[in-house]
Amino acid sequence: MRIELAYFAWVRERMGTPGETVELPPAIADVAALLGWLAARDERGAATFADPHRIRAAIDGALAGPDAPLAGVREVALFPPVTGG
């Protein structure tokens, strides 16, 4: 399954890119599994996603929890809790 990943704030900085296209194995079915897959993929992923509680996600523009399914999804945005306003 191919999806777009978008990174923001220190997630973007640690990953060294604002986003990428990834081909996910079929076993990676939800946001929590995606975070685990990224953390296991390489050193940057490990440094960024070691503590998944610090990460928030949005699927196609809507906030999504760790068990949100990835089937049919175009974009997953990954970022820290917001600090705006």
Binding site: F8, V82, T83, G84
Partner: protein, 146 residues
Amino acid sequence: MIRVFVQAAPIDVGAEIDLHDAGGHGASASFIGRVRGDAGLTELFLEHHPAMTEAGLASLAHAAADRWKLGALTLIHRVGSMTPGETIVLVLASSRHRAEALAACEYLIDRLKTDVMLWKRESFADGRIAWVEEREDDRDRAARWE
């Protein structure tokens, strides 16, 4: 009239108040948030998720307009690089009655802190650069409106 902007350009508070107030509303409440030059801060950078930030602000504005009788509502959030003293966010809420204008203004600024897809990065005179951590009291204040 609801006006919502996310912009990299400086916010001209006086001009926005004039535009907003053209309707001659009975009561106008405003909130202006500015960059504080604390602890040697030299730059505030505000990163945003463009589509989600605009949708989030518009949705907040409509929620406020549903909840209170407002004659006008202006919500402007700056993004990108700012220096101390510059305006980050401007909320203007007008109504016939002061209680509604004040409540809408407070609601909007509280929810803005937690509901809009923005992240702050601070740079300091000593070279230190740090992303701002989520504040628990912001979550608490926003939760008052649930």
